[in-house]
């Protein structure tokens, strides 16, 4: 399996580094002394890449993405976007949260408009309204844009959340297990929509997932995290499938299963959780 040195998407590596995670550690002080969540994490992401992060629960994936988003600061090391260190959250690194995080007292349109209004301060009201409506149209929610989140299904809510994130054209799109709470059909539908939007917008995406098939379908590279405490990036796997990707074609590709087995082996043999190993 060490021969999986696939270099189909080499062209990305010719670009300048876009997002650089350099020697990042995160230590939380606890009652029983300091607890190291992440230790010496290094990763370079290039513009327009789609990165998926996989690891067991508690391996610090969310901590890592929260630091990219700016909600947390690293204890050591630094994270830079276009050579500028990330110090606080901002709309250039928009997050799609697992639980959608829509404001329940606003309609789908108003949720998106809130983001648009914050970012495009110099645009007219008509322009901002158009941007919000176009973003909702992109995820197929024109009909439902005046509904409140509680009137929408889980999949539709996550679509609103994606529309909100994309409406402001972030440089990095951070997705924290965005489809974890959805059923398989909706999840696959949304994966395909996300992929086509990602291609059209040329946005750099960083996504946490538990689903290996999802990661194989979406990612250019899959980041495998070791178990916590003091988790780090154990390995980065290049995903060679040509784009635009077709789910059927990928699953027919012989490399699909070797990659899938490789990651499974990583998660359940090399880095199996203690209680699962019994």
């Amino acid at each position: 399996m060490q021969t999986l040195d696939l270099t189909d998407n080499d062209q990305k590596k010719n670009q300048d580094p876009f997002l650089v995670i350099n020697g990042v550690s995160k230590v939380y002080p606890t009652a029983r002394g300091p607890y190291t969540v992440l230790e010496n994490v290094n990763l370079t992401v290039y513009e327009g890449e789609f990165i998926c992060v996989i690891g067991h629960s508690g391996c610090g994936k969310s901590t890592l993405l929260n630091m990219v988003a700016g909600f947390n600061r690293p204890t050591a090391g630094e994270i830079c976007l276009k050579s500028k260190p990330i110090l606080r959250p901002g709309p250039d690194r928009m997050v799609v949260f697992q639980n959608y995080s829509l404001l329940p007292w606003m309609s789908a349109f108003e949720n998106v408009y809130l983001a648009v209004k914050q970012v495009y301060t110099d645009k007219s009201k008509e322009e901002k309204t158009k941007i919000a409506k176009d973003s909702l149209a992109l995820v197929g929610l024109t009909e439902a844009m005046n509904k409140r989140p509680k009137e929408l299904s889980g999949g539709m809510r996550q679509r609103v959340s994606i529309a909100r994130a994309l409406s402001i054209r972030p440089e990095v799109l951070i997705l924290d297990e965005p489809f974890g709470a959805l059923d398989v059909m909706t999840r696959e539908e949304l994966q395909e929509e996300l992929l086509s939007i990602w291609r059209a917008n040329k946005v750099t995406a960083l996504m946490i997932t538990h689903d290996i098939d999802e990661a194989l379908f979406l990612a250019d590279r899959i980041v495998l995290m070791s178990n916590g405490p003091a988790a780090h990036i154990a390995e980065v796997v290049d995903i060679p499938f040509a784009r635009p990707r077709d789910r059927k074609a990928i699953s027919d590709d012989p490399r699909y299963y070797s990659l899938r087995n490789y990651i499974l082996e990583f998660l359940y043999s090399r880095f199996a959780l203690a209680d699962e190993a019994e």
């Binding site: 988003a69 700016g70 909600f71 606080r88 639980n99 329940p104 809130l114 914050q118 509680k150």
Partner: protein
């Protein structure tokens, strides 16, 4: 034609169903009411009953029942040169009471409205202040915890004492000492649930919403209007609803002690003059108005609050 008859049959069935469903919701309370009134009638129909039975209450309170908004002192708007119109003159001769219970209730409701509105404004403002500032919260929370356990009427003597020193300045805003003390009791009774619930609501803004605000870099004012207030609204309305019930409890008690009119004073007055039937009717008024106030705040909150679920 066949289709038409089917439709009309269908509609008839629907009406029958509707009546049956409505019956389910109003027949049980009706039965309970008849049972209670019957029991009351039986218990209080001896030779020297402790209280008048329902039939006697009905007989003795006829003018109060039929003329809730009659007021002998009320100036007739249609009259010229302060002489009552013939119709009103006739009414004055016919009706033996001074003032209907509706008028008295309005006096009390007005007091509640003033004290409660003041409590809502101050309570929500202070609640937001101590809810958003950890230092203020730590400083004031213990004090508020003590103050809020003081029973409403315990505030009355101190309010009377304090306001009697300010008699003149109170008169400039059209209040006497008793009136001001009554309003203060309403205020101080209803402020604590509003204040405490607002503070908790403000503190409980979910992390998700805060994260959205942080990522979008919402300004302080924007955060306040678009996230903090809507998110805290359910808590604030819970406080407002508890408070309206408490203030209605307090006004009746305060009026009994301060003798300034209103439904509470009427109860005390009826008791002192041995008019038990009037007292019982007044209790019914108090109960119904309390229920109405509660429902009013409930429907306002339903209209104003958009919850997650």
């Amino acid at each position: 034609m066949a289709a038409g008859s089917i439709t009309s049959k269908f509609t008839l069935n629907n009406i029958g169903e509707w009546v049956q469903q409505q019956a389910k919701s109003f027949i049980p309370p009706l039965l309970a009411l008849i049972l209670l009134l019957g029991a009351w009638q039986v218990i209080c129909s001896g030779k020297k009953p402790p209280l008048p039975p329902p039939t006697k209450v009905w007989e003795e309170t006829q003018p109060y029942i039929w003329y809730p908004f009659f007021d002998r002192d009320y100036f007739d708007v249609d009259a010229k040169e302060k002489i009552d119109s013939p119709a009103r003159k006739e009414l004055k001769e016919k009706v033996t009471i001074e003032q209907g219970l509706g008028v008295k209730t309005i006096i009390s409701v007005r007091r509640v409205a003033i004290g409660y509105t003041a409590a809502a404004i101050v309570g929500i403002s202070l609640g937001i202040a101590i809810g958003t500032n950890a230092f203020l919260y730590r400083a004031f929370d213990p004090i508020f915890q003590v103050l809020r356990t003081i029973p409403p009427l315990a505030w009355l003597p101190i309010a009377l004492a304090a306001f009697s020193g300010m008699n003149e300045s109170l008169q400039t805003i059209g209040l006497n000492v008793n009136e001001a003390a009554g309003l203060f009791v309403i205020f101080v009774t209803s402020i604590w649930p509003i204040l405490m619930n607002t503070a908790v609501g403000v503190q409980q803004v979910p992390q998700d919403y805060r994260n959205v605000a942080r990522v979008l870099r919402l300004g302080k004012l924007d955060y306040f209007i678009t996230i903090l207030m809507p998110s805290a609204a359910p808590y604030i309305f819970t406080g407002l609803r508890i408070a309206v019930g408490l203030s209605w409890l307090a006004i009746v008690a305060a009026e009994m002690l301060t003798a300034g009119g209103g439904i509470g004073f009427f109860i005390w007055d009826s008791y002192n003059s041995g008019k038990q039937s009037e007292l019982i009717l007044a209790l019914l008024y108090i109960g119904l108005v309390g229920l109405l106030l509660d429902k009013l705040v409930y429907y306002i909150s339903k209209f104003a609050v958009q919850s997650d679920s």
